[in-house]
């Protein structure tokens, strides 16, 4: 049984630390990056099924990650985390094909259900919340 690969990018280390385990429990294969530049390289190296990225980070922002991920794999589901969502940003993300957006601060369960939804859409059947 193939497990969905998830890439989690946020320059806040705690985000990765707290979410990695909970996403793995869903049955995902999770990679965590703090440095969005390195994450970009990783995306180009290996396409991910689901990418969860913060939008505002130094040097490389979430929109660039979104574009890169879509370029590598048009089917990839990208979930954008925002600190302060403006309608402009929301429109841009949706136009560029983001799967969904989630605003900080959020609960782990919020993200989990979003990932489950994404995985289900991609055809992974045994991913679900317990």
């Amino acid at each position: 049984m193939k497990r969905p690969t998830v890439l989690l990018i946020d320059d806040e280390p705690i985000v990765g630390q707290r979410l990695k385990g909970t996403l793995e429990k869903l049955g995902c294969e999770v990679d965590v990056f703090q440095d969005p530049g390195k994450a970009l390289d990783r995306i180009r190296e290996k396409g991910f099924d689901i990418i969860v990225t913060d939008v505002m980070m130094p040097d490389v922002n979430g929109i660039q990650i979104l574009e890169a991920a879509k370029a590598v794999n048009a089917d990839a589901k990208v979930i954008i985390i925002t600190g302060f969502a403006t309608s402009d940003l929301a429109r841009e993300c949706m136009e560029k094909g983001a799967f969904d957006m989630i605003a900080k601060p959020f609960k782990p369960s919020d993200l989990r259900s979003m990932v489950v939804r994404a995985a289900t859409e991609m055809g992974f059947t045994d991913i679900q919340e317990r």
Partner: protein, 507 residues
């Protein structure tokens, strides 16, 4: 009469009005009064001298009449000796002379120069008696008589003496008249010369007294125009008409200052409004960390080790601290404070300012670089207001750059007690034709709702009030650089204007 119902006692007003009054009206009246007194003295002096000369002339004419009669007598006397005639005439003339002398004796004693009254009277009397001695003697007898010689000698001697004395007196009186006339002629000339110099002095004095305060007023208006609202302090010893103007200026200054302060305050709140997106971002990061950690604890409490519990709780505490710091930094800037001048660590202040704008810059994809020389000396200033200035400059720079732009915040020490802070961006730059206007209030090139055009004007006012300068250099399409020069140490005490404020624990 002054009414200051709007404000309680103000030291500067007391200073201005606490001086003794010596106004220009009084000065002018005093000047003219001095002129008048002088003229009166000169005129009275001239009148007195002239009347004395008049009386002198009378004295002289008396002496001359006396002299004339004596000389007449002497001529008759000569005739008598030559032809034996005219003795009666000689006696008559002598009597005339005697009469003149007797009539005017009192007058002459008072008016004439000191004269040998006894001698003259004696000589005249002797002359007269000698003449009288001739009368009973016929000429034949007389011609042969021995006594003739003696009488003739007496006559000659006393006659000559009287003539000489009278002539000398007349001549002396003449001399005196000439002298006084001379004085009467010269005094007005001297007076004119004196008056000339006096007038030059008075004119200079008065114009100086007018010009000096006028010049000071001009200087005051110039510094006020630059945003320095220090009240006018008394510069002269006395209160005068200009004091009215100065008191009015001070009242205007208090008005201006309070208006400036409310302008600064409202513009600050605007800047805070602009910062909200950045602040929300910044605040939501630690909140999210807290949320995730707390939920993880809740969901997986039993599965986690004790160390992991501790780690998560520590994270929660740290992130709470972080949130508090963010809120504190913003509130510290926003809080409405009484303007207080205090020693400031400029490096810390610039760091806090950058922090305020940092996330805003990140939202827009702009990098803010700090380049602050270590160990900058402390400067005296109002923390909030200076933060506001640098924030205004950074926000302007943010508006000017595109995504990927760069803003540099530099600070370094300069010789002669100055610190320079530069805010440079590589944005759109400022067109040369608007460059002279950007510090004007309400000048903006931004659309309505985006810019009020007060940022630079308010900043300029604040920096002026700190005794500093703010300058701009820009090239269109390439860069803009705003340079703030602030004094520190010795130069600053004189330049800044916080004397009104009681210093709160500042040292």
């Amino acid at each position: 009469m002054w009414f200051f119902n709007s404000t309680p006692t103000h030291d500067e007003r007391d200073d201005l009005l606490g001086r003794p009054s010596f106004n220009f009206r009084l000065q002018i009246i005093l000047g003219f009064f001095t002129f008048f007194i002088l003229s009166v003295v000169i005129t009275i002096g001239a009148m007195l001298t002239i009347s004395r000369i008049e009386r002198k002339i009378e004295t002289v004419s008396t002496w001359e009449r006396f002299l004339y009669n004596i000389e007449q007598a002497r001529r008759w006397e000569k005739n008598y000796f030559l032809y034996g005639t005219n003795l009666d005439d000689a006696l008559e003339s002598t009597a005339n002379a005697q009469a003149i002398l007797n009539e005017n004796l009192h007058y002459l004693e008072q008016m004439s120069i000191p004269w040998p009254k006894e001698e003259l009277m004696r000589d005249l009397a002797l002359y007269q008696s000698s003449l009288k001695m001739l009368a009973p003697i016929s000429l034949q007898e007389f011609n042969t008589a021995d006594g003739r010689m003696a009488v003739e000698a007496d006559l000659r001697r006393y006659g000559a003496q009287v003539v000489t004395e009278a002539a000398a007196l007349a001549a002396k009186e003449h001399e005196l008249i000439a002298k006084w006339l001379n004085i009467v002629q010269k005094v007005p000339v001297y007076f004119l010369i004196f008056l000339f110099f006096l007038m030059i002095y008075v004119a200079r004095f008065l114009s100086l007294r007018f010009m000096q305060p006028l010049k000071q007023l001009v200087q005051h208006t110039q510094r006020i125009a630059k945003g320095d609202f220090t009240p006018v302090k008394p510069a002269r010893k006395y209160r005068d008409e200009f004091t009215t103007v100065e008191v009015a200026i001070n009242r205007m200054l208090r008005e201006l200052e309070s208006r400036q302060n409310s302008l600064i305050e409202s513009h600050k709140l605007r800047a805070v409004g602009i910062l909200t997106a950045g602040v929300a971002h910044e605040l939501n990061n630690p909140l999210n960390n807290i949320m995730l950690s707390a939920h993880s604890l809740l969901e997986e409490y039993d599965e986690l080790s004790k160390d992991e519990h501790t780690e998560m709780i520590t994270d929660i505490i740290q992130e709470t601290d972080r949130s508090r710091a963010i809120v504190h930094n913003l509130l510290d800037f926003t809080r409405e404070n009484k303007s207080v001048m205090q020693p400031l660590d400029l490096s810390l202040l610039l760091n806090e300012t950058a922090k305020l704008a940092f996330n805003q810059a990140r939202v827009r994809g702009v990098a803010i670089q700090l380049d602050i020389e270590p160990e900058l000396p402390a400067i005296r200033g109002d923390r909030q207001q200076l933060k506001q200035v640098f924030l205004n400059l950074v926000l302007n720079a943010l508006d000017a750059v595109n995504k990927g732009g760069r803003i540099q915040l530099k600070a370094r020490k300069q010789p002669n007690h100055r610190i320079i802070v530069e805010v440079e961006d590589n944005g759109c730059g400022i067109p040369p034709e608007v460059l002279p206007n950007i510090f004007d209030p309400f000048f903006t090139t931004k659309p309505v709702g985006k810019g009020t055009g007060l940022g630079l004007s308010v900043s300029h006012g604040i920096i002026s009030n700190h005794g500093g300068r703010i300058e701009v250099a820009s090239e269109q399409g390439r860069y803009s650089r705003f340079t703030v020069t602030l004094p520190w140490g010795a130069t600053q005490t004189a330049a800044t204007s916080d004397q009104r404020q009681p210093q709160e624990g500042a040292s």
